[in-house]
């Protein structure tokens, strides 16, 4: 970032001398001076900050309803405070614990089965020499990312459903049909497969960028020393990507409880509540739909607090590995 700043500031040498000086010796500046120096950077982050403030931090005031018996006609100001009653009710609700369990199990399955796939894909793509073939493959695996979940579920239903292409083929050839879409026992693998199909192609973007950043002279030097493909992968490529992999893993763990909403609400009828209820659908079904807004908010707040704890814990682990995590120590 500093390099960019210098680059912009340097050419009109005479007029920008003060700012060039400031850029080189920033430590002694006060808050105002630093703001003045970094104004272009600050302005660049402003839209994101406003977005966060309006759509993420602003609505957090609504969390107060988790401690109320909120009524839509009395509003936040008029609804009575009930302390931790909603949480007590939540923690004694077996359906809530079941939703939490489902969320964690699904997260774990996705972590193991989904997370490595974009890395492998990125490595494979990177090894393709022809840039035409590479961009063609890349475009194809990207595409499902732009589909909505409704479409993804419909595509899966049409292909693998009870009346879908696969089972119709099996029937017409007198073979046993395969219940994929309405089997609650294998639902976790189904949703992981859907997630892989939809998002793996998109997930490779960051890894490809990390691969591109690796100095190609390292490979040349290693090759000259007689390192084969696997040695180069192990000693150059993977260490080069480690920072990015750990960062994404940290973010992933922090998001362990945000497994998704649409994918599950869409398939809830197909496999039943026991398999498909996750925390977000629980808050929706038992909070919003039943107009128990305080109850749903309590479930959401609980999820938020646990997520922050997970994120911090994962970040600590990242630091232990000597990586940056999502902020530097």
């Amino acid at each position: 970032m500093a390099a960019i700043d210098d680059g912009v500031a340097a050419p009109p040498a005479l007029s920008s001398q003060p700012s060039a000086k400031a850029a080189s010796g920033g430590r002694g500046l006060n808050w105002w001076g630093r703001l003045k120096r970094d104004r272009s950077l600050v302005i660049m982050t402003l839209p994101a900050v406003i977005l966060l403030a309006v759509f993420s931090y602003g609505p957090m005031f609504g969390l107060i309803t988790a401690f109320q018996a909120y009524d839509i006609y009395n509003g936040v100001a008029g609804s009575p405070f009930v302390g931790f009653d909603q949480f007590q009710r939540l923690f004694s609700d077996p359906l809530f614990w079941h939703a939490l369990e489902n969320t964690l199990v699904l997260s774990a399955v996705q972590l193991v089965l989904y997370f490595p796939i974009p890395i492998v894909l990125a490595l494979l793509l990177n090894s393709i020499m022809s840039s035409k073939v590479r961009s063609f493959v890349q475009a194809i695996v990207y595409l499902p990312h732009f589909f909505g979940w409704v479409l993804v579920v419909v595509v899966f239903q049409e292909m693998l459903g009870g009346a879908g292409a696969l089972n119709m083929f099996l029937r017409q050839h007198d073979m046993a049909t395969w219940n994929i879409m309405t089997n609650p026992d294998t639902f976790k693998y189904l949703v992981t497969a859907q997630a892989v199909w939809k998002e793996a192609g998109w997930g490779i973007v960051v890894f490809l960028a990390a691969l591109a950043a690796i100095d190609s002279s390292l490979y040349e030097a290693a090759a000259a020393d007689g390192a084969n493909r696997w040695r180069r992968l192990w000693h150059i490529t993977l260490p080069g990507m480690r920072g990015v992999i750990v960062l994404l893993l940290v973010l992933r763990l922090g998001n362990a409880l945000s497994i998704g909403f649409e994918q599950f609400i869409l398939q809830r009828l197909a496999v039943g509540r026991d398999a498909a209820e996750v925390l977000d659908t629980f808050a929706y079904n038992y909070g919003l739909v039943g107009n128990n807004i305080s109850y749903g908010t309590a479930a959401g707040l609980f999820k938020g607090i646990v997520s922050v704890a997970l994120l911090l814990a994962a970040n600590k682990v990242a630091h232990k590995f000597g990586e940056d995590g999502f902020y530097r120590r």
């Binding site: 609700d93 309405t182 197909a270 807004i293």
Partner: protein, 564 residues
């Protein structure tokens, strides 16, 4: 499923303290409402004697004679009259342009594709005739009920909004209705004479628009034979296979068709979802109520507790197990149910009676030229069939309480225009827009042009509607005749459910206790859980508020009767 029960036991004290809070807030509401009406109360309902003072009188307009007149059935049910041809010279029922140029926001549900709002010449044509600008804002009907609480909470209600009766329970509507204008001073008794087309709506249709002793709602699609749905079959397929639909009299007869009509390798299944959301279709087959019933000893019971729902679950589990239900229906994909029926992938389905119309015939014959929908005569698991009829109108339009008296009067005049009966010049405008632009007359009936098919949707009609009638759509007179004949037979078996049209507002803390039972029904239907699991869930439903609700309704019954 033992955990939930255990949880329910430990949960109970906690729950009761919450219930206490609910009572407190309801009491507070009662106090507030008490300022305006001494008899006002939480339940929202109104005594019969008060109703007679509030409801508008019925002054029928008989200018157009139906081809098949309405048939009076049992318990006050009346079938819709059938018209096969639009009058050549439609009568004018409204003398002058009703509006004075005001501009108003609206919100209505729409089950279907939402038409473009910019440059929509249908909207423009109707608004021009009304002399106001109604900003039409249709919203997805399926999720309508989930959007409403936020709208109420933010106090961002439009000037004129439609609220379906089935969405009022989560809105605590006995309280929420105070956000809307009290129409009693404008429409009660003979005052409705100022609005002759509104006066042409039968008195019974207004009843469910009365809350806490005041008239608030304008009836939407009022009818004398509103039922939750029925069982349809592909008449063309039945004729080809020589199956006599009249021989199908019981649920077991129906199930027995499964093997004959299913050929999975050819992609054809006998049945779509026959159960319905929350058992609303299957209840007719097995004689259990949609909500509350009264047993032979006079005790109130909920459908979840009935023996009959267990029979229904067992019956449906067998059909599913036999492989006679379309896999997509089992996967919970109900949006494409009509397409499956049109294309012949299923032969028998359950649907609302509104599915049986000319648009359906158009779509069906496009998929298969010999397509013909028909409904079974009412079936019954034991003895003579019965069918519960809904209130005289299931949905109502409400005007915002913030509107001034002048504006309310302007909108009521506009409502009078929109409620113009079939056979009038106004009806054509409201339903079809401008002749030559969005519709043309074809074989004596209006038909949408290509442009009309894109721009016309049920929008103004969802604000207020004249009495239901069966008409020829898309050039299919047989559909109108078939439906009229079937309905005239059906009304003979009508019964009024307990708390008919009474607008009882349940205490809000019970609003989500049914969800666990509905989820369980879904699991049992498809064999993922057993009937014994279902009974366990019902036990916990009772302890979590089902029994308290019964006591609540018992109290309503003592004070106001059952409305039957």
């Amino acid at each position: 499923m033992q955990d939930p029960l255990k949880g329910a036991a430990t949960n109970r004290r906690q729950f009761l303290s919450l219930a206490g809070l609910g009572v407190l807030s309801v009491a507070g509401v009662g106090g507030l409402a008490g300022c305006t009406d001494k008899k006002a109360n939480g339940p929202g309902t109104t005594s019969q004697s008060d109703l007679s003072k509030i409801l508008p009188n019925y002054i029928p307009n008989t200018a157009v004679k139906p081809d098949m007149p309405a048939v009076v059935g049992a318990n006050g049910a009346v079938s819709d009259p059938v018209f096969l041809r639009y009058p050549d010279s439609p009568v004018k029922t409204v003398a002058a342009i009703p509006g004075k140029g005001g501009s108003y926001t609206t919100m209505t549900p729409l089950w279907g594709a939402i038409p473009p709002s910019d440059g929509n010449s249908y909207y423009d044509a109707v608004n021009k005739a009304l002399g106001v600008t109604l900003k039409i804002q249709p919203s997805d009907g399926t999720n309508y009920g989930n959007a409403l609480p936020a709208l109420f909470a933010a106090d961002k209600l439009p000037d004129w909004i439609q609220i379906p009766g089935w969405n009022t329970s989560t809105l605590n509507f006995g309280q929420g209705v105070s956000k809307f204008a009290d129409l009693t001073p404008y429409l009660a008794g003979d005052k409705i004479k100022d609005y002759p087309n509104l006066a042409n709506i039968p008195t019974g249709a207004w009843q469910a628009g009365v809350w806490n002793g005041k008239l608030y709602g304008l009836p939407v699609y009022p009818g004398g034979a509103i039922i939750s749905g029925t069982y349809f079959y592909r008449r063309d397929i039945f004729e080809k296979l020589n199956i006599s639909p009249d021989s199908i009299k019981t649920p077991d007869d129906l199930a027995a068709l499964g093997a004959q009509l299913t050929s999975a390798s050819a992609g054809q299944w006998a049945f779509d979802d026959l159960f319905g959301d929350d058992a609303n279709y299957v209840s007719q087959l097995f004689h259990f109520p949609q909500k509350w019933g009264i047993d032979s000893s006079g005790k109130l019971f909920h459908k979840y507790e009935s023996q009959e729902i267990i029979e229904a679950l067992n019956w449906y589990q067998k059909i599913v197990k036999a492989g006679h239900v379309h896999p997509d229906a089992i996967a919970g994909n109900n949006q494409n149910g009509k397409q499956r029926f049109w294309s012949g992938k299923v032969c028998i389905t359950a649907d609302g009676t509104g599915a049986w119309n000319g648009d359906d015939a158009k779509s069906g014959t496009a998929a298969n030229p010999s397509y013909r929908r028909a409904a079974f005569k009412l079936m019954s698991s034991k003895g003579t069939p019965t069918v519960e009829i809904g209130p005289g109108a299931g949905m109502f339009g409400y005007l915002n309480a913030k509107l001034s008296e002048d504006k309310i009067k302007e909108l009521l005049k506009v409502a009078d225009y929109i409620a113009a009966p079939y056979g009038s010049a106004e009806w054509l405008v409201v339903n079809f827009g401008a002749e030559g632009d969005t519709y043309t007359m074809k074989d004596g009936n209006p038909a949408l042009t290509e442009k009309g098919a894109k721009e016309v949707a049920t929008t103004f009609q969802f604000l207020v509607t004249p009495s239901n009638q069966t008409t020829v759509q898309q050039g299919f007179p047989d559909v109108a005749k078939d439906y009229g004949t079937w309905q005239a037979e059906m009304v003979k078996y009508a019964v009024k459910p307990a708390f008919y049209a009474m607008n009882v507002t349940e205490p809000s803390q019970y609003s989500s206790i049914g969800k666990a039972v509905q989820d369980m029904i879904q699991d049992v239907k498809f064999g993922r859980k057993s009937v014994a699991d279902y009974q366990e869930t019902v036990k916990s439903w009772k302890s979590q508020g089902g029994d308290a609700l019964r006591a609540f309704y018992e109290d309503i019954r003592n004070k106001y009767g059952t409305g039957q």
